[in-house]
């Protein structure tokens, strides 16, 4: 099998010849692996050869040559053409072929992303990377190294909706922890941008409670945002992390985000003026962390929180009283706030404009509409899918060798059949 591959031309000929069926492609893969050094040495000459190959049919070979080609650092002028050619390749390549060499594919995509960032046009990279992710993933439940890069480009290009369509699929398989951290962090930021606070909270929670052996910067930043989102969405925050968070996180995260913890205590007190004073005092810290926008949202959510607290005490209240209790400037502002909250569905109330009274109502959901049936039905379907996944994981775990070793060891002590009158414990 050791052919005489001492020229790039012969490699190209092999690629063109051996790209038709699956067996040929695996053969070709072996040959390409052997000729890798040759390609690396000739990296400057390789660009014209790419024109002879068709990316959709000869994807594997094209990938190898492209990877060798882009290995050399190149100038900004060439970046444009490089971006174009890689984008074309990503759109046209055949998924089965590139899955044979995933790390090469990932490195090509990473270089693509670097070039796009160099040109400062992140928008150009969004669509090609999306197709690249879809082609690389064995299934939509797998996390690839391309996910965080894609989300980063979406964030920079402000294409939040495209990012959301990738975030909709739950991830069940993770290869690299660093990918996971970055993916959840960027994903949380995209959800914040789209004001989907619940999903953002979930993603940031994943970062903060993920297993980690040492504290890392992603987790620290995520923790700060997690505090802020928790205040905006839930109105409260508990500084104790759940039990399944790593001990490293539980001990150290708080130390890195001291100003935010104090913000929480200010918020809980309920006085807007104090909160605003605190924010003003620590403005630079928040600005350095690029969280000032979120902090301002926290302040405005304070009004909402206070109005919601009022619903628990009063049945009707005048707009003037609302303005006074919540420390707003005028009844007009109070009316605007209440109206906004009614539209967002955060509160159930009616405003009587004649005498300026607001009447707080109960949740009018009667659970007797067809839409409710469809909602519950879709929830049931989702949970059935989740249940199947759980049973599959359970079976997988039952067959795991480590589990069987430990379970077998434990069972021996308490086996009913071996019971005799003298308990085994005392025999030791």
């Amino acid at each position: 099998m050791n052919l005489n591959m001492n020229s790039v031309e012969s490699v190209v000929a092999q690629i063109q010849g051996l790209s038709s069926s699956a067996d040929d492609v695996t053969h070709l893969h072996g040959l390409l692996k052997q000729s890798e050094e040759l390609l690396q040495s000739e990296s400057t000459r390789l660009a014209p050869f790419l024109a002879e190959l068709d990316p959709s049919k000869h994807s594997l070979g094209y990938l190898y040559i492209l990877e060798a080609c882009t290995a050399a650092p190149n100038a900004k002028e060439q970046a444009n053409e490089l971006v174009l050619s890689i984008a074309r390749f990503l759109n046209d390549c055949a998924a089965e072929q590139i899955r044979l060499a995933p790390d090469k594919f990932v490195s090509v995509c990473k270089r693509f992303k670097d070039q796009v960032m160099l040109l400062e046009t992140p928008m150009r990279g969004v669509a090609p990377l999306l197709t690249a992710i879809r082609k690389l993933q064995p299934s939509s439940e797998h996390l690839t190294s391309l996910h965080p890069d894609f989300l980063l480009l979406c964030l920079l290009a402000k294409c939040y909706k495209t990012g959301l369509c990738v975030l909709e699929h739950d991830i069940f398989e993770v290869d690299q922890p660093r990918d996971f951290f970055l993916y959840c962090y960027y994903g949380g930021m995209i959800c914040i941008g789209q004001k989907r606070y619940r999903k953002a909270l979930e993603l940031l929670h994943n970062v903060v409670t993920a297993p980690m052996s040492t504290i890392n910067a992603i987790a620290v930043e995520a923790y700060k945002k997690y505090i802020l989102i928790s205040l905006i969405h839930l109105g409260q925050f508990s500084t104790s992390l759940p039990k399944y968070a790593s001990s490293v996180a539980q001990r150290n995260l708080k130390n890195f985000s001291q100003p935010y913890i104090e913000l929480v205590t200010c918020y809980v007190n309920g006085k807007i003026s104090e909160l605003e004073a605190y924010v003003q005092a620590n403005r630079e810290i928040f600005e350095i962390d690029r969280n000032l926008g979120l902090v301002k949202q926290v302040v405005s959510s304070m009004y909402k929180r206070n109005i919601q607290r009022l619903t628990q005490t009063y049945l009707t209240l005048s707009l003037q009283d609302i303005a006074n209790t919540v420390q707003l400037n005028s009844p007009k502002e109070a009316e605007m706030h209440v109206l906004q909250m009614i539209q967002d569905g955060e509160i159930y109330a009616t405003i009587n404009q004649k005498d300026g009274m607001v009447r707080f109502l109960e949740d009018p959901e009667q659970y007797k509409t067809c839409e409710m049936i469809e909602r519950i039905d879709s929830s049931i379907q989702r949970i059935m899918a989740l249940s199947k996944k759980l049973t599959a994981m359970d079976e997988h775990m039952s067959c795991d060798s480590q589990y069987l070793a430990k379970a077998g060891r434990e069972r021996q002590r308490f086996d009913f059949d071996d019971f005799d009158t003298v308990p085994q414990k005392f025999n030791i």
Partner: protein
């Protein structure tokens, strides 16, 4: 060999006998299948005829009523076409000790019809009981058949072609159950639906019944609908009497059409959905719990001494 018996005896058969015979047959059949290697040449169908099993039935005869309580198995010698006599007598003695009232009333076998060779065995038993009974169980499964595939034959002396011969005549019988038998049969009948479907519980069987009923209704409505469409298009000549019938049927539905009914119906539907959602949530959390237990057993670095039980 068929006409009904004229002896005037009433037969009462206990379910235990039927179950015994069926069990005997099933065991022998599965044993013979596992012994002979599957070398079926024609498409997987076993061409060998199903094995026949033989045994004795015992019970009580009081006056004109014959009540068959129990049965036991016997070995059959095809060479001499007779049953194992010594074993029969040994078994008879043993049963006598436990059930002093029981006598050997006859014998049983499996098959679709009574055969000529059976008369030989029948005559052999005549010295124990002057008029033995032959219980025949047909093991072929026939879903359409609603009765039990069990027939009871008696022997009568008939004159055929001038020669007096013993032939088998059918007798009718009733099923008689003791309380214990009734409970067990009831239990099994409720758990396993009669059409042999895979539904395992009573609720599933009930729902399957409703589902098939609704499916039938749906198909019938579809037939009517097609018919009416064809009539409208003109493919079929208009038949006014049928149209009148359809219209009267339609006027009978819907039974209730008020707003309140809609509300109540949707509320109840939602409640049922919520309950099943809750059930699924509980199911999921329990499987999650097991998974987490297994995970911590497998990958926990330190084992808590004495605090763990073996029963997860």
């Amino acid at each position: 060999m068929a006409s009904s018996s004229s002896s005037g005896l009433t037969f009462k058969l206990h379910p235990l006998v039927i179950l015994n015979i069926s069990d005997h047959y099933t065991r022998v059949k599965s044993q013979s299948q596992s012994q002979s290697p599957p070398s079926a040449v024609n498409g997987g169908e076993t061409t060998s005829p199903p094995p026949r099993v033989f045994g004795c039935v015992i019970g009580v005869q009081s006056g004109r009523t014959v009540e068959i309580f129990n049965s036991f198995e016997l070995l059959y010698y095809p060479s001499t076409n007779s049953l194992d006599r010594s074993f029969l007598e040994k078994k008879q003695e043993l049963y006598k000790k436990v059930f002093p009232n029981f006598y050997i009333l006859g014998w049983y076998s499996t098959g679709s019809e009574a055969e000529e060779s059976d008369m030989h065995i029948h005559k052999a038993l005549m010295d124990i009981n002057e008029s033995p009974i032959y219980v025949l169980l047909s093991p072929s499964i026939n879903h359409a058949q609603k009765d039990l595939p069990v027939t009871i034959y008696e022997s009568e002396l008939h004159v055929i072609d001038g020669i007096p011969q013993l032939i088998f005549v059918r007798s009718s019988y009733t099923i008689e159950t003791v309380e214990a038998e009734r409970i067990s049969v009831d239990h099994v009948a409720h758990l396993k639906p009669s059409d042999g479907g895979s539904a395992a519980t009573q609720l599933a069987a009930h729902l399957t019944g409703i589902h098939s009923a609704i499916k039938m209704l749906n198909s019938r409505i579809r037939v009517l609908h097609h018919y009416l469409l064809a009539m409208q298009k003109g493919d079929i000549p208009c038949e006014n009497s049928l149209l009148r019938q359809v219209s009267s049927l339609l006027r009978r539905l819907p039974a209730i059409e008020s707003e309140k009914f809609q509300d109540d119906f949707l509320t109840e539907y939602n409640d049922t959905l919520l309950i099943s959602y809750l059930a699924m949530l509980t199911n999921c959390s329990s499987s999650m719990n097991e998974l987490v237990d297994k995970f911590s057993t497998a990958f926990e670095k330190h084992i808590i001494r004495g605090g763990r039980t073996a029963f997860f």
